[in-house]
Every structure is written in structure tokens, then in C-alpha cells.
């Protein structure tokens, strides 16, 4: 079986200064536009190639700012590579920022429906799964209250529960297993593991090296926008530890 994710020489550059000048400044500078001063670029990812097979769990580790999240957003498709090609087969489900797309004034149930639809279910499917989602998130008593009244933990639990119940094919996880109390963390880890076992392809970015060792089949260590090492979780995590 061919790889589900195939990336060749992915490079991503960002403008180094994020705040763009206004339209007014642009117009005022127009006469000098021909003296094009090259805008400095920041290379977040530098020709990264990787492939992930179906049902595989790829762990990505590295220091802050190494390019892990950039890589993940490229795989997700919310950003496009400056150079290189990327092919992804299947529905991508992000577990990046939990609760993205939640509206504070809608109830937990309404938000869960909306996010489930955003993640690719139909409305009918979402409503059918609602029972499971609510049970898993352990917020039965509050589902019909607006989410602005939720505690942080309830909010994250609901968002996590929606994401894993939308029949993902490719799961892209960025450091979100630390949700809720210890028992919920164990439960969500078990849920992710069972998804992986059932054949869901997973890319898992984390600083929690123990979790990476436990979940990932293969690990990539990203350093300064490049892949520094790739291999079995034990070896890469050990070398990463030594490097630190």
C-alpha cells in the first residue's frame, strides 16, 4: 500500500516582519516600488521530505520554533508550501487548537454539531453521534448551557470529544493530549490509541517524550527547519535527550 502522506522537499518561508504596512503606506511608496528592496524572509521549514503509511503513527519532536507546527499546518492544508510538493489522501482531522470554531453564545450541543460538520460529518451524522460525544466529554449536565459559561476543562473536553468522534482518517495532533484531569487524560490517550489501532493514520507533535514513545511507531526530530534524525521512537528520543 502506498503512503497516505507523501511530502517531497517541503519548504516554507514567511516574511520576517509579520505586521504588513497599510494600504496607505503602500500607495505612498509606490513611486519607489521599482527599487524593490528584497523583503527579508524567515525559513521555517527547509526541504523536508517525509512519508507516512496508512495506519502509521508518526511522532514529531523538536525544540520550540523548530518548525513542528509549521510542518503540521502544511500537512493539514491551512498553509501552502513555498516550494516542494505534498500529497495527502484522505480526510484530515486537526486536533490543533481545541475549540477553534466554537461560538461562546451557542450551547455545547450546538457547538459540537457545528464543529462536527466543519470536520466533515453531515448534520444528521453529527446529531446521531451526539450522545457518544457528550458521554465521552463528561459534561452531560451542561450541554445545553452556552459554552461561555464552561470551565476551561469542560470546553477542552468537549472539543476533544467532538474531534475524535468524527470518523477521522488522518489525525493531526499538536500537543493536545494534556486535556482535563488525570482520568480524562488517560481516557483520551486510550481513545487515540484505539483510533490508531483501527487504522487511522496519525501525525503527533509533542514535547511529552514519554507519550511520543508510547504512541508513535516512528519519530522524526525536527531541528531548525530540517529533519535531524528519523527512526524508531526509542533511538530518536534518546538522542534528542542527549542533545538537550
Amino acid at each position: 500500500m502506498g503512503p497516505v502522506i507523501q511530502a517531497v522537499n517541503l519548504t516554507k518561508r514567511y516574511p520576517a516582519f509579520k505586521s504588513p504596512p497599510g494600504f496607505k503606506e503602500w500607495v505612498l511608496k509606490l513611486p519607489f516600488a521599482f527599487r524593490a528592496d528584497k523583503k527579508p524572509l524567515f525559513t521555517a521549514l527547509d526541504s523536508v521530505s517525509l512519508s507516512v503509511k496508512k495506519g502509521e503513527c508518526l511522532g514529531i519532536i523538536g525544540k520550540n520554533g523548530a518548525g513542528k507546527s509549521t510542518l503540521l499546518s502544511l500537512l493539514l492544508g491551512t498553509s501552502h508550501p513555498t516550494e516542494g510538493t505534498l500529497r495527502v489522501e484522505g480526510k484530515r482531522t486537526p486536533l490543533l487548537e481545541l475549540g477553534a470554531g466554537f461560538h461562546p453564545d451557542l450551547t455545547g450541543r450546538e457547538n459540537a454539531t457545528i464543529v462536527a460538520v466543519l470536520l466533515g460529518l453531515t448534520r444528521a451524522e453529527a446529531e446521531k453521534k451526539m450522545g457518544e460525544i457528550i458521554t465521552f466529554s463528561e459534561i452531560e449536565n451542561f450541554v445545553d448551557a452556552p459554552v461561555r459559561t464552561y470551565s476551561n476543562g469542560m470546553y477542552l473536553r468537549l472539543a476533544f470529544s467532538v474531534a475524535i468522534h468524527t470518523a477521522p482518517e488522518i489525525l493531526l495532533i499538536d500537543e493536545v493530549l494534556a486535556v482535563g484531569d488525570e482520568s480524562f487524560q488517560r481516557k483520551s490517550e486510550a481513545a487515540i490509541l484505539s483510533l490508531i489501532k483501527s487504522g487511522v493514520t496519525t501525525v503527533f507533535v509533542s514535547h511529552n517524550l514519554e507519550a511520543v514513545k508510547k504512541i508513535a511507531h516512528r519519530v522524526i526530530w525536527v531541528h531548525q527547519g530540517k529533519i535531524r534524525e528519523e527512526g524508531s521512537p526509542e533511538t530518536v528520543v534518546r538522542n534528542y535527550h542527549q542533545f538537550e
Binding site: 504588513p20 497599510g22 491551512t78 498553509s79 501552502h80 486537526p94 490543533l96 477553534a100 470554531g101 470536520l119
Partner: protein, 199 residues
């Protein structure tokens, strides 16, 4: 002019839909950063949603127009049933084109939303809304006709005031709407690829 209220409102409600849609959607990409960066979905839905939400206000204005028409001795005919949805459809396409272009540009140049607010006032007074086309000296009328909103507003007027669908205005307005949608969509498609770099 007699019946000035009727005359004014026949175009003013449609104008409010247009202007509030454009002004609100100018910000809608910038305001939904977290969703745009973390979830994949067609980004132009955000803009379409704003315009549809603002359309609700327009729908509520139709009963008001019914009452005012009756008070002015105009009996709405079946033309309203045909003409109003048609005018709404044309205006939706036109507004979508403009809003797509403005909203995506506002992510690159954040001061565009303020410019839009100011320019909207200017466009309001340059469009025959508070005054009829006949108030413009004949030599200068072509300037108003360049303005794509003129034919749209005239279309609304023909339905409400005269119980007819001005085919001339309908044709021009639809043509303009499609042109603006094509331009807006092309610009949006092109620039949204780098959306993550500028937000």
C-alpha cells in the same frame, strides 16, 4: 417630490444590505484567525455567511415596503414575487464579489477596512438613492451609469415604485454582478494561498 419616503426607502433598504455586508465582511477573515489557521473549510463561506446574515434585515423590510406602498396607493402585483427574489439574487452575487475582494485585501493591508468605511459614504452619495437619476444633469448622467450600484438601485425602484422589472437595469446589474464575482473570486483564490503568512 411627492411620496419621497416611499421613493427613498425603495432603494435605501437595499443599500443598507450592501453597505453593512461589505463593511462587516471586510473584517471577517481577520476576525476568524483561529478558525482559518486550525480548520480546513472553504474560506469564502465566511463571507457568504455575513451577506446572508445581513439579508435577514432586508427581508424584514419587505413588509414595511408593503405598508408604505399601500399608503401611497400602489398595489403590489405578482411582479413583487418575481422581482424581489431576482433583485436579491443579483445583489447577492454583486455583494459577494466586492466583499471577497475587499476581505482578502484587508488581510494584506489592514487599513483597508477603515478606507472602506469612508469610501462607503462617498459611494452612497454618488449613487442615486436619495435623489433620482433625473436630478443629475444630462451631460453627467454617464458618470452615474458607470457606478455599478446605480442600475441595481434602479432595478429595486422599478419593482417597488412602478410594479415593473426594468429589464435594462436587470441586464446591466446582472452583467456587473457576474463581472465583479469573477474578479473577486479570482483575487480571493489567488491571495488565500498565502493567508497563513499574513494573518
Amino acid at each position: 417630490m411627492e411620496n419621497y419616503t416611499f421613493f427613498l426607502l425603495s432603494a435605501l433598504f437595499a443599500w443598507s444590505w450592501f453597505s453593512s455586508s461589505v463593511i462587516i465582511s471586510a473584517r471577517s477573515l481577520v476576525d476568524n484567525v483561529s478558525m482559518i489557521k486550525k480548520v480546513i473549510f472553504p474560506r469564502h463561506y465566511l463571507i457568504a455567511a455575513v451577506i446572508l446574515a445581513q439579508m435577514v434585515h432586508l427581508l424584514f423590510s419587505i413588509p414595511i415596503m408593503l405598508i408604505i406602498a399601500a399608503a401611497n396607493g400602489v398595489t403590489p402585483s405578482w411582479i413583487w414575487f418575481l422581482g424581489i427574489p431576482l433583485a436579491i439574487a443579483v445583489q447577492f452575487v454583486f455583494t459577494l464579489g466586492i466583499s471577497l475582494a475587499i476581505s482578502i485585501c484587508n488581510t494584506y493591508f489592514r487599513d483597508i477596512e477603515y478606507l472602506v468605511g469612508v469610501l462607503m459614504n462617498l459611494v452612497f452619495w454618488m449613487t442615486p438613492i436619495t435623489y433620482p437619476m433625473s436630478a443629475i444633469p444630462e451631460n453627467y448622467r454617464f458618470i452615474a451609469l458607470i457606478n455599478p450600484l446605480t442600475s441595481l438601485m434602479n432595478l429595486w425602484r422599478s419593482i417597488y415604485l412602478h410594479n415593473t422589472i426594468s429589464l435594462n437595469d436587470l441586464g446591466v446589474a446582472s452583467f456587473m454582478a457576474v463581472i465583479f464575482l469573477v474578479i473577486g473570486l479570482a483575487l480571493f483564490r489567488r491571495l488565500e494561498k498565502r493567508l497563513d503568512e499574513v494573518l
